[in-house]
Symmetry: C2
Amino acid sequence: MTVARERLLDAAVEAFAEHGFTATTTRDIASRAGMSPAAVYVHHATKEELLFTLSLNGHHAALNVIEQAGTDAPDAVAEVRQLVYAFSLWHAQNSRVGRIVQYEFRSLTSEHRAQIASIRRQIEAHMQDALKRGVAQGVLDVPNIADTARALLSLSIDLVRWFDPHGSQPPDQIAALHADLAARMTAARRHPDRF
Amino acid sequence: MTVARERLLDAAVEAFAEHGFTATTTRDIASRAGMSPAAVYVHHATKEELLFTLSLNGHHAALNVIEQAGTDAPDAVAEVRQLVYAFSLWHAQNSRVGRIVQYEFRSLTSEHRAQIASIRRQIEAHMQDALKRGVAQGVLDVPNIADTARALLSLSIDLVRWFDPHGSQPPDQIAALHADLAARMTAARRHPDRF
DNA sequence: GTCTATACGTGGATAGAC
DNA sequence: GTCTATCCACGTATAGAC
């Protein structure tokens, strides 16, 4: 509720994305938020708890994006396309948070890691379910559901490693390309013959 | 040549892969190599120089792998398949080094970063060239060469984020899947590869 | 080349005034 | 809730003996 608490979270996103969690000092975070080093601890118990808050928010947002996408798709091919489009778009539009979410996982305490891991499993399960539906419908050809789901998510996630938010490439363009590639990777070459 | 120097490099791979560069202490590296903290500095000037050596070796190895692959491919579809197979196989078999290579880039000095970046451009160019040849031959359908090349590399690179070297999944199995997906992503419709 | 000992800076977190 | 001042642990790197 306090404005200061959110200013500190924003400052932490900047700092963690720029230098990484371990290399970021609480003094740097405080300074970016225009506060003294001590003020950090009024609003957040530890530096790790700050990271956990960001990571939890980020994972919830990503899960929400993938759960909302594809609900009005006419068939499973369109659904896969929409899931990958939405997931890639989110990672391109939130590449700083995405980098923290993906790369600072091991800096969390084991309890916090376990909580985050559960959200990750929900994201993977959602993609797997879409593939399974498509295979059952006969419109997708996916020999290996689990690994292919992971490969589709990899495309989006790896965005945060190289995507430049200040660059000229529009997020929706790369999302559209990924959606096309996803459709080609999974679509059956033709619909099964009907007797 | 000295054995100690290589023992320290091996120890650094372990430590950096496990905790990340910043969170790794020189004491930890020395301890894993069975030496005193001071001994590190007999063989390596700084901790960053240790990272640079590992990163340079790793990038050279990855570049070499992709340059050797696909040389005897009968056509561009097979070449793309072989490039992705080899690149994914290497990342699965060297996931610890791969993690350092991919995630500790920003911990390098700007001079060292520039050297590494040049090798990365060569890797990207190699994949792009294969796609261009295939399009020219008419066996590949790739509307966006640069972004598609990056997507193909993403599949392999993102392996290091989740691949478990102690898990049960064989490296060649995930490499084969990635090769299949790469072929489906890029092959022209009228020249289907096996899938 | 390896050790023990240590200098020296830095960083997470706290104390206590306002 | 914010500040200044500070504690204290830790980490990189070096000194100097063997």
